[in-house]
């Protein structure tokens, strides 16, 4: 009995824990490569942080956007701007607690003067911010605002 419980833990519980904790570090070069590779994909990239209340409020809308469009070439990426030192103590526990299904990254760039402009010249640095990239239509648009689900859906439908 004890053995089977043990086995159950390893087979069912642990993989979920491990999966939920899967937050990857992301350099901007890696992000750009990914965008280049997915030429047919519409990327909706949400920049957020666990300390940003309006970001947390709109996270479910990004989860819903992806979940409602699984058959379409849409990829939602959640890029956290939490401090690097908070990866283990804040970000991973948050992702686990809220069972986020979208891919979550921690931006691994130090120089704000450089990376804010590289992400978008339109961006002042305020959070939340969402970048929509559609290479096929040559679209790269930054939204420095908080979304409702209806607003987010409209943006996706307009730019897809």
């Amino acid at each position: 009995m004890r053995y089977s419980l043990f086995l159950a833990f390893f087979l069912f519980v642990l993989p979920q824990l491990v999966q939920a904790q899967n937050v990857k570090l992301l350099r901007l070069n890696q992000l750009e490569q990914r965008l280049d590779q997915g030429k047919d994909t519409v990327f909706v990239i949400n920049f957020w942080a666990t300390w940003c209340a309006p970001c947390i409020k709109e996270l479910p809308y990004f989860e819903k956007l992806q979940a409602d469009h699984t058959s379409q070439p849409l990829k939602v990426l959640l890029v956290s701007l939490d401090f690097r030192s908070k990866l283990e103590t804040a970000l991973k526990p948050f992702v686990q607690k809220h069972k986020l299904k979208n891919e979550v990254f921690l931006l691994d760039e130090k120089n704000q003067q450089e990376y804010i402009d590289r992400i978008s010249k339109e961006w002042s640095g305020a959070l939340p911010a969402t970048l929509v990239v559609n290479k096929k239509r040559n679209i790269r648009k930054m939204y420095e605002q908080e979304f409702t689900y209806a607003e987010l859906l409209k943006v996706y439908q307009t730019l897809k």
């Binding site: 300390w51 209340a53 309006p54 701007l81 003067q113 804010i116 002042s124 305020a126 959070l127 605002q145």
Partner: protein, 202 residues
């Protein structure tokens, strides 16, 4: 005729655009009159001895603002005696962000013993005039015989977490330049911050 109308239309468009974009470095700053946490009205003109101002859009609730709060207090302690006091302006609407109400601003200013005005900007009029779009957002204004001019827009430093001993003190560097009769070598920086909590249409 049509062409003239079109040109006029375009000019109006440009003017509106310039207004929404707010001040750029080098622009002349119009004075304002805003209510301080002591309920008195504050204008830049009240500071007869000042050489300029460190105008900072900041608030109670934004974690980045909170992280910078002690550094804002220190900026005022160091630069008010040199002629550049801090003028803090809360750009957030209290309905959209209840933690930024006038009463809670008063509490915060009292508990942290702010040595500088902490001003309310109802309807975001001054926030929009300046073009502040996040907290904290710094505008260094220099007083001259020709009026007050923006000399620096951006971040306080490049280390929100305050752990890097080699951090670059953008605001202090710009102030040092101004105090030694120079224009700031770096006059515009960007930083991660919180969006302004705008009043919602009712």
């Amino acid at each position: 005729m049509k062409k003239i109308l079109f040109a006029l239309f375009m000019m109006c468009g440009l003017m509106v655009k310039a207004q929404t974009a707010g001040y750029q470095v080098g622009d002349k700053v119009a004075d304002f009159k805003l209510k301080n946490v002591d309920s008195k009205m504050v204008s830049m003109a009240d500071f007869k001895q000042a050489k300029g101002f460190i105008v900072i859009f900041t608030c109670n609730t934004c974690p980045v603002s909170k992280a910078y709060e002690d550094r804002i207090i220190a900026l005022n302690s160091k630069y008010a005696p040199k002629g550049y006091p801090v003028l803090a302006i809360n750009p957030n609407d209290p309905k959209a962000s209840p933690g930024d109400s006038f009463e809670l601003m008063q509490e915060r200013a009292k508990s942290k013993k702010f040595g500088f005005p902490y001003l309310l900007d109802p309807d975001h009029l001054i926030t929009k005039t300046f073009g502040a779009n996040r907290t904290p957002h710094v505008f260094i204004v220099q007083k001259t015989n020709q009026g007050n001019f923006v000399q620096y827009i951006g971040a306080i430093d490049n280390d929100t977490e305050n752990t890097d001993p080699d951090k670059i003190l953008y605001t202090e560097n710009a102030l040092q330049d101004l105090l030694t009769g120079k224009t700031p070598a770096l006059s515009f920086t960007k930083a991660v911050g919180c969006t302004i909590k705008w009043k919602k249409a009712e």
